[in-house]
Protein backbone atom coordinates (compact mmCIF):
# COMPACT_ATOMS: atom_id res chain seq x y z
CA UNK A 1 0.00 0.00 0.00
CA UNK A 2 1.26 3.46 -0.83
CA UNK A 3 2.12 5.71 2.08
CA UNK A 4 -0.60 8.16 1.02
CA UNK A 5 -3.21 5.39 1.16
CA UNK A 6 -2.07 4.38 4.62
CA UNK A 7 -2.19 8.02 5.70
CA UNK A 8 -5.72 8.15 4.31
CA UNK A 9 -6.75 5.17 6.44
CA UNK A 10 -5.21 6.69 9.55
CA UNK A 11 -7.08 9.93 8.84
CA UNK A 12 -10.33 7.97 8.55
CA UNK A 13 -9.62 6.17 11.82
CA UNK A 14 -9.09 9.52 13.56
CA UNK A 15 -12.33 10.86 12.11
CA UNK A 16 -14.07 7.72 13.33
CA UNK A 17 -12.75 8.36 16.85
CA UNK A 18 -14.09 11.92 16.73
CA UNK A 19 -17.48 10.65 15.56
CA UNK A 20 -17.63 8.15 18.46
CA UNK A 21 -16.74 10.89 20.94
CA UNK A 22 -19.41 13.22 19.53
CA UNK A 23 -22.13 10.59 19.23
CA UNK A 24 -21.67 8.92 22.62
CA UNK A 25 -24.26 9.45 25.34
CA UNK A 26 -21.78 10.43 28.05
CA UNK A 27 -24.44 10.71 30.76
CA UNK A 28 -25.43 7.11 30.06
CA UNK A 29 -21.80 5.99 30.06
CA UNK A 30 -21.08 7.72 33.37
CA UNK A 31 -24.20 6.11 34.89
CA UNK A 32 -22.99 2.57 34.22
CA UNK A 33 -21.27 0.51 36.91
CA UNK A 34 -17.67 -0.63 36.60
CA UNK A 35 -16.20 -2.35 34.68
CA UNK A 36 -18.82 -1.44 32.07
CA UNK A 37 -18.12 2.28 32.31
CA UNK A 38 -14.42 1.84 31.59
CA UNK A 39 -15.16 -0.65 28.80
CA UNK A 40 -17.44 1.88 27.07
CA UNK A 41 -14.87 4.67 27.41
CA UNK A 42 -12.21 2.37 26.01
CA UNK A 43 -14.49 1.55 23.12
CA UNK A 44 -15.02 5.24 22.35
CA UNK A 45 -11.26 5.75 22.17
CA UNK A 46 -10.26 2.60 20.30
CA UNK A 47 -13.37 1.57 18.37
CA UNK A 48 -12.21 -1.97 19.06
CA UNK A 49 -14.94 -4.10 20.61
CA UNK A 50 -12.78 -7.17 21.19
CA UNK A 51 -9.94 -5.20 22.81
CA UNK A 52 -12.33 -3.28 25.07
CA UNK A 53 -14.09 -6.49 26.04
CA UNK A 54 -10.86 -8.35 26.73
CA UNK A 55 -9.28 -5.62 28.84
CA UNK A 56 -12.40 -4.92 30.88
CA UNK A 57 -13.70 -8.47 31.25
CA UNK A 58 -17.15 -7.49 29.94
CA UNK A 59 -18.43 -10.18 27.51
CA UNK A 60 -18.20 -9.03 23.91
CA UNK A 61 -21.85 -9.41 23.00
CA UNK A 62 -22.97 -7.75 26.25
CA UNK A 63 -20.63 -4.84 25.51
CA UNK A 64 -22.03 -4.64 21.98
CA UNK A 65 -25.57 -4.25 23.36
CA UNK A 66 -24.37 -1.64 25.86
CA UNK A 67 -22.58 0.33 23.15
CA UNK A 68 -25.89 0.61 21.24
CA UNK A 69 -27.59 1.99 24.36
CA UNK A 70 -24.65 4.37 24.83
CA UNK A 71 -24.99 5.46 21.19
CA UNK A 72 -21.41 4.59 20.33
CA UNK A 73 -21.29 3.79 16.62
CA UNK A 74 -18.99 1.11 15.24
CA UNK A 75 -17.44 2.99 12.36
CA UNK A 76 -16.40 1.01 9.30
CA UNK A 77 -13.67 2.95 7.50
Amino acid sequence: MMTEQLDGYLQRLEEARELRRRSADWAYIESRPEPLRTALKLLVETGDLWYSSKLSGVPLDELNEERKRARIPLVVV
Binding site: M1, L6, L10, L19, D48, Y51, P59, L60, V76
Partner: protein
Protein backbone atom coordinates in the same frame (compact mmCIF):
# COMPACT_ATOMS: atom_id res chain seq x y z
CA UNK B 1 -18.00 -17.99 -3.48
CA UNK B 2 -18.41 -20.95 -1.27
CA UNK B 3 -16.68 -20.45 2.07
CA UNK B 4 -15.51 -17.45 4.07
CA UNK B 5 -13.92 -16.99 7.48
CA UNK B 6 -15.64 -14.44 9.73
CA UNK B 7 -14.80 -12.76 12.99
CA UNK B 8 -17.20 -12.45 15.89
CA UNK B 9 -17.94 -8.74 15.55
CA UNK B 10 -19.05 -9.05 11.93
CA UNK B 11 -21.11 -12.13 12.73
CA UNK B 12 -22.85 -10.36 15.62
CA UNK B 13 -23.58 -7.39 13.38
CA UNK B 14 -25.05 -9.56 10.65
CA UNK B 15 -27.15 -11.57 13.08
CA UNK B 16 -28.72 -8.26 14.18
CA UNK B 17 -29.53 -7.25 10.59
CA UNK B 18 -33.13 -7.85 9.49
CA UNK B 19 -31.89 -9.41 6.23
CA UNK B 20 -29.13 -11.44 7.84
CA UNK B 21 -29.87 -14.59 5.85
CA UNK B 22 -28.87 -12.79 2.65
CA UNK B 23 -25.20 -13.27 3.58
CA UNK B 24 -25.69 -16.91 2.56
CA UNK B 25 -26.43 -15.79 -0.98
CA UNK B 26 -22.72 -14.92 -1.07
CA UNK B 27 -21.25 -17.77 0.96
CA UNK B 28 -22.64 -21.27 1.28
CA UNK B 29 -21.00 -21.64 4.67
CA UNK B 30 -19.22 -19.31 7.08
CA UNK B 31 -16.32 -20.50 9.20
CA UNK B 32 -15.91 -19.13 12.71
CA UNK B 33 -12.63 -19.89 14.53
CA UNK B 34 -13.31 -21.73 17.77
CA UNK B 35 -11.17 -19.26 19.73
CA UNK B 36 -13.92 -16.69 19.06
CA UNK B 37 -16.83 -18.81 20.29
CA UNK B 38 -16.35 -18.07 24.04
CA UNK B 39 -16.88 -14.39 23.17
CA UNK B 40 -20.52 -15.17 22.41
CA UNK B 41 -22.39 -15.19 25.71
CA UNK B 42 -25.88 -13.86 25.00
CA UNK B 43 -28.57 -16.53 24.66
CA UNK B 44 -30.06 -14.82 21.59
CA UNK B 45 -26.80 -14.83 19.64
CA UNK B 46 -25.75 -18.28 20.82
CA UNK B 47 -29.16 -19.65 19.88
CA UNK B 48 -28.85 -18.29 16.38
CA UNK B 49 -25.28 -19.57 16.05
CA UNK B 50 -26.37 -23.05 17.16
CA UNK B 51 -29.20 -22.98 14.64
CA UNK B 52 -26.78 -22.01 11.85
CA UNK B 53 -24.40 -24.79 12.81
CA UNK B 54 -27.31 -27.26 12.80
CA UNK B 55 -28.36 -26.07 9.33
CA UNK B 56 -24.79 -26.42 8.04
CA UNK B 57 -24.46 -22.69 7.37
CA UNK B 58 -21.85 -22.12 10.03
CA UNK B 59 -18.87 -24.29 10.95
CA UNK B 60 -16.66 -23.84 13.97
CA UNK B 61 -12.98 -24.13 13.05
CA UNK B 62 -10.87 -26.18 15.43
CA UNK B 63 -7.70 -24.57 16.67
CA UNK B 64 -4.65 -25.85 14.80
CA UNK B 65 -0.92 -25.41 15.43
CA UNK B 66 -0.07 -24.50 11.84
CA UNK B 67 -2.65 -21.69 11.89
CA UNK B 68 -1.43 -20.53 15.31
CA UNK B 69 2.10 -20.20 13.94
CA UNK B 70 0.93 -18.10 10.99
CA UNK B 71 -1.36 -16.06 13.27
CA UNK B 72 1.55 -15.29 15.58
CA UNK B 73 3.67 -14.22 12.61
CA UNK B 74 0.89 -11.89 11.37
CA UNK B 75 0.25 -10.60 14.91
CA UNK B 76 3.92 -9.73 15.41
CA UNK B 77 4.36 -8.29 11.93
CA UNK B 78 1.29 -6.04 12.01
CA UNK B 79 1.80 -4.86 15.57
CA UNK B 80 5.46 -4.05 14.99
CA UNK B 81 4.91 -2.17 11.72
CA UNK B 82 4.69 1.57 12.34
CA UNK B 83 1.48 3.17 11.15
CA UNK B 84 -0.58 -0.02 10.87
CA UNK B 85 -3.63 -0.23 13.13
CA UNK B 86 -3.21 -2.85 15.90
CA UNK B 87 -4.52 -6.34 15.16
CA UNK B 88 -6.13 -8.51 17.86
CA UNK B 89 -5.29 -12.16 18.48
CA UNK B 90 -8.58 -13.62 17.17
CA UNK B 91 -8.43 -11.42 14.09
CA UNK B 92 -4.87 -12.53 13.43
CA UNK B 93 -6.02 -16.14 13.72
CA UNK B 94 -8.94 -15.61 11.35
CA UNK B 95 -6.77 -13.75 8.88
CA UNK B 96 -4.10 -16.46 9.06
CA UNK B 97 -6.63 -19.22 8.38
CA UNK B 98 -8.08 -17.28 5.46
CA UNK B 99 -4.61 -16.59 4.03
CA UNK B 100 -3.47 -20.21 4.35
CA UNK B 101 -6.60 -21.57 2.69
CA UNK B 102 -7.21 -18.90 0.04
CA UNK B 103 -10.53 -17.84 1.57
CA UNK B 104 -11.96 -14.35 2.08
CA UNK B 105 -11.90 -12.96 5.61
CA UNK B 106 -14.97 -11.05 6.83
CA UNK B 107 -14.47 -8.36 9.47
CA UNK B 108 -15.64 -4.84 10.22
CA UNK B 109 -12.33 -3.91 11.83
CA UNK B 110 -9.90 -1.88 9.75
CA UNK B 111 -6.72 -3.64 10.79
CA UNK B 112 -6.92 -6.87 8.72
CA UNK B 113 -7.94 -4.97 5.59
CA UNK B 114 -5.15 -2.41 5.96
CA UNK B 115 -2.64 -5.18 6.73
CA UNK B 116 -3.68 -7.24 3.70
CA UNK B 117 -3.19 -4.20 1.48
CA UNK B 118 0.06 -3.11 3.09
CA UNK B 119 2.13 -6.21 3.73
CA UNK B 120 3.67 -8.11 0.85
CA UNK B 121 3.38 -11.42 2.73
CA UNK B 122 -0.42 -10.99 2.83
CA UNK B 123 -0.71 -10.01 -0.81
CA UNK B 124 -3.71 -11.67 -2.43
CA UNK B 125 -5.65 -12.12 0.82
CA UNK B 126 -9.17 -10.78 0.33
CA UNK B 127 -10.79 -8.97 3.26
CA UNK B 128 -14.42 -7.85 3.10
CA UNK B 129 -16.28 -5.66 5.57
CA UNK B 130 -20.06 -5.32 5.88
CA UNK B 131 -20.27 -2.55 3.30
CA UNK B 132 -18.41 -4.71 0.78
CA UNK B 133 -20.94 -7.48 1.40
CA UNK B 134 -23.91 -5.13 1.04
CA UNK B 135 -22.47 -3.82 -2.24
CA UNK B 136 -22.13 -7.39 -3.51
CA UNK B 137 -25.70 -8.22 -2.49
CA UNK B 138 -27.74 -5.21 -3.56
CA UNK B 139 -27.87 -2.66 -6.36
CA UNK B 140 -29.10 0.92 -6.84
CA UNK B 141 -31.85 2.10 -4.53
CA UNK B 142 -31.98 -1.40 -3.03
CA UNK B 143 -28.41 -0.92 -1.87
CA UNK B 144 -29.20 2.42 -0.28
CA UNK B 145 -32.19 0.95 1.55
CA UNK B 146 -30.12 -2.03 2.73
CA UNK B 147 -27.32 0.25 3.98
CA UNK B 148 -29.84 2.36 5.92
CA UNK B 149 -31.45 -0.73 7.42
CA UNK B 150 -28.08 -2.24 8.32
CA UNK B 151 -26.94 0.95 10.05
CA UNK B 152 -30.25 1.21 11.91
CA UNK B 153 -30.30 -2.44 13.03
CA UNK B 154 -26.64 -2.66 14.09
CA UNK B 155 -25.56 0.88 15.06
CA UNK B 156 -22.70 0.45 12.60
CA UNK B 157 -21.78 3.61 10.69
CA UNK B 158 -19.99 3.56 7.35
CA UNK B 159 -17.57 6.42 6.81
CA UNK B 160 -18.52 9.08 4.25
CA UNK B 161 -15.55 8.12 2.10
CA UNK B 162 -16.58 4.47 2.00
CA UNK B 163 -20.17 5.37 1.14
CA UNK B 164 -18.98 7.69 -1.60
CA UNK B 165 -16.68 4.99 -3.00
CA UNK B 166 -19.64 2.58 -2.96
CA UNK B 167 -21.85 5.15 -4.72
CA UNK B 168 -24.30 5.30 -1.82
CA UNK B 169 -25.89 8.63 -1.03
CA UNK B 170 -27.91 8.61 2.19
CA UNK B 171 -30.72 10.98 3.08
CA UNK B 172 -29.55 13.65 5.55
CA UNK B 173 -30.60 12.77 9.09
CA UNK B 174 -32.47 14.88 11.60
CA UNK B 175 -34.06 18.28 11.21
Amino acid sequence: MSLAVADTCLLINWLSFRRWEDIFRLFRRILLPSIMVPELRSQRIRGRVEELVYRGRLAILPRADYVDREALRIFNLVNSTPGLPRIDEPEAYGLAYAALHGLPFLTDNASPKVAARSLSSLKGVVVYDSLDLLVMLYRGSGLRTAVEEFMSDTSVVFSRERLREAGVELEPRGG
